[in-house]
Assembly symmetry: D2
Homo-oligomer: 280 residues x 4
């Protein structure tokens, strides 16, 4: 993204928005490389992601002129942080974490992993191989409030852009969620809204479905009900028992979570109510 300008706009829909925006962009000598827009006609909302070649000489004026060209209350973001800061929360399962750390180590993550926090120490050795701080914060012998207070303090210490729940198996309270609104990303091991809650692979086996899947979503206070970012499924058959479904599912889980992180780090995801707009 060197020598490029990324502009994100979210506002009420109106006639002539693209023209107004393109006019301001051209005035600042930027050339539109790709423009993706979406109009939510039900809610009368306009969403735009523009990549321009060139860098504006006068950033403040560009911002001001865009604001003036748009309806009141428009959210305009120009060149958001290109390297997002992540904190990863884990329990015992390694597959999503390992996928993230390997990408970080080889500089294909487009983000920094500031720290990993686990409620077990299972993944500490692995994490530390990559010279990343691992904080072991056990939930045992603590109230939920105590545990979450410790967790929140440790997370906050890193001021992350996103907190990735990479198979973190504790349900977070509304208080915790509220504190990190819009920043919590979870991987759920089913094709939501099917099999909400615990043991989705067991639920899937009991129901006799012919597909399994995974869902990356923002965390809100409705369990497994937050805005969905990425979902994928995989065909299964009657011969696969629950452990085999779990094993097969892990491949989808890590692919789905990695793809969601990729989309977030490139600022391709916007929120509208309980849904996402994803400019792939």
């Amino acid at each position: 993204m060197n020598n490029q300008t990324l502009i994100l706009i979210q506002c009420a829909d109106a006639v002539g928005l693209v023209s107004n925006i393109a006019h301001v962009i051209a005035k600042h000598q930027l050339n539109i490389v790709t423009m993706r827009e979406f109009v939510d006609e039900v809610n009368q909302k306009f969403f735009l992601r523009v990549v321009c070649s060139g860098v504006p000489q006068e950033m403040d004026e560009l911002t001001q002129e865009l604001q003036q060209a748009l309806p009141t209350g428009a959210a305009v973001t120009i060149n958001p942080a290109q390297q997002k800061k992540l904190v990863v929360l884990v329990t015992k399962e390694h597959h999503c974490l390992a996928d993230i750390l390997v990408r970080y180590y080889f500089q294909t993550l487009n983000a920094t992993v500031e720290a990993v926090i686990g409620n077990y120490d299972t993944l500490q050795d692995f994490t530390e191989k990559f010279a990343i701080p691992y904080h072991y914060i056990s939930h045992e012998g603590k109230t939920k409030e105590q545990f979450e207070a410790e967790l929140a303090a440790q997370v906050s210490a890193y001021s992350p852009d996103y907190i990735v729940l990479a198979k973190f198996m504790r349900i977070l309270s509304p208080t915790f969620v509220a504190q990190f609104e819009g920043k919590l990303i979870n991987i759920h091991h089913s094709f939501l809204p099917a099999f909400i809650g615990a043991n989705p692979y067991r639920q899937a086996h009991t129901r006799g479905v012919k597909i399994i899947g995974a869902t990356a979503h923002f965390v809100t206070n409705d369990l497994d009900e937050g805005p969905i970012i990425v979902q994928r499924t995989k065909s299964i058959n009657h011969s696969q028992d629950v452990p085999q479904l779990v094993t097969a599912g892990k491949e989808i889980e890590k692919a789905v979570l990695s793809h969601a992180i990729h989309l977030l780090t490139e600022d391709r995801v916007m929120l509208q109510g309980n849904k996402t707009i994803v400019f792939e």
Copy 2:
């Protein structure tokens, strides 16, 4: 399947079953071409589908000897009807019906379409192009009992092996379902168990999922809860409105239903409780 023998077995699991069965088969000069078996370890059930080259000289003896070689209560089927008889129930949507009729017309269905029954006459002209009887049985102005009694009578007149609900949009009563137990196949327009009930595409749009899907299943008295035969999904994005989801979904629906019919006509589906064993 000319000059071949198909043997289906479903029984309690026990040691040496394959050996016992293979011995009887060899004794009758049949050569095993493909053998697929499954052991449901939880329920201690054994399922087998064997295709042999050759035709037994003494069919009764083969059946008897297989029964003797198996635990009491074993279900043994040899050479079930190769051309299943289907009756198709429709409402107004054509896509699944057309797919079935085209396959029937060009003799790639491996089944006969005995008749089509619709609670509207929308699809009558199309059906009759293929010289297939179309029975228009309106539900209007009738009690559910009356409507279903007419429907059941018409269906029964054809003694079908399977009754295919090809987007038949009336919920059938337990009485009706009981009358055709194990023969009713439905296509549901979602990846069950997500979005049970009406308007699954609208539900999917409201929830903001990133996949849609379809499910072919046996009909039982629990709405949309019967044993699943085939499921597939397809990726979607935020820009697709409900009508676009419906259009995209129809492609999956017809593919899923056709595949389920294909599996049934080749006797590749066995039932165990609320689940299917599918020997693809």
Copy 3:
């Protein structure tokens, strides 16, 4: 697309194109609903597809002003024919043809099937069920020149927008192809460039691949080398013989060809050299 305006632009790339275009569009009181653009940086070419709500009062002025706002030689198309006219060429296989005719009959094709032309009469009865003219032009006992002259005359009589080779198994000469440049669409039964030429499923079986596929492409004078519009694949395994691959492949072929037709009828495909830009 009622009360909407579709604008297609293809021209040399330059700074400010989107702004210029959006300015003209806004001036004519049209509101941009979706805008998709692509810059081919290697060839310095700009491609745009814009859907606007509203209909321009002065179409000629809109066209002129767009031309003036763009580099010399720009191709500007406003509201191309919404109902494309198709002529379908077939040999003996029905699956692609049937898929097209069913969509046409139920008005989901977004195009008209003007006629079907076959070098056998195998599919005549089926076609005529849908009240579509079928022209049986045998290639037997004729030189290639004679056969193609007859074919060309019959095709030309319908002035089609596209000529769909729906499993038409004769190789067309450069003379024929030149006559209908950019209008000939073929479905090839492999994932090109693998298995060019005859019997791709046999080639696939011999090579022992684990996928089969199909390719819809424009026909040029290089056999199976024209610009690709749509491709899909499907997993297979060692147990499938050539007839089974053919059967499995037909499902992909018809889906791929239908999707390509859908893209073309909505003017979502642009050509750049031997490649396509597809605004899905």
Copy 4:
């Protein structure tokens, strides 16, 4: 696989093979859990993979009796090594190696990684994090013979079951290949037979295909022509340039190679001429 017996058989086809085999198995008090067989009718070959519960008391007798029950020349393998030994060859790209090492570290590989050998030292640090020997054997300043002699010596020192070319970018000579016949597994970054040779993603971009893919295959002396084990593809579009195809392709490459290793370590792959039988 504790307390289980795996039997692999490859022989000329004959009448009654399954019965003969099942009889011997039952005689040794083993119970068949899953049996997968395939008859290559063209080459008259029979392939079988049986998993039994139980462990034979007299292994030698079981082997002998199976041999006697089968045509001359039958290959019978009982309980092949459950932990295959792998040596991994790399150049500079990390994605396949990292995927393998992570699985090994967390004991989900079902194999041991004995060593990694690279013709660059790029991946040495990463490998050594996992306490796995890394041998840096540069090809520079050496003849192909010298380089391969060093490589072969180092590989042989570990007596591996399989040598995994995890994006090893040197073409191996017939001499080297002959030395490790049937043990060399390569990941090729295209959906073979498309785009054989160098730079398949560039070739794919130039051709304008709408899918990319990867192929895991045994290495023979015909470049990229060895028996295929696993293939997968992924849809792409016109907007993706070569580096983006490379990035997208890496995800498929590592998934395909991992799946091939999984199949090999579970003895699910058999060879027949230039093709594989894969009992998934």
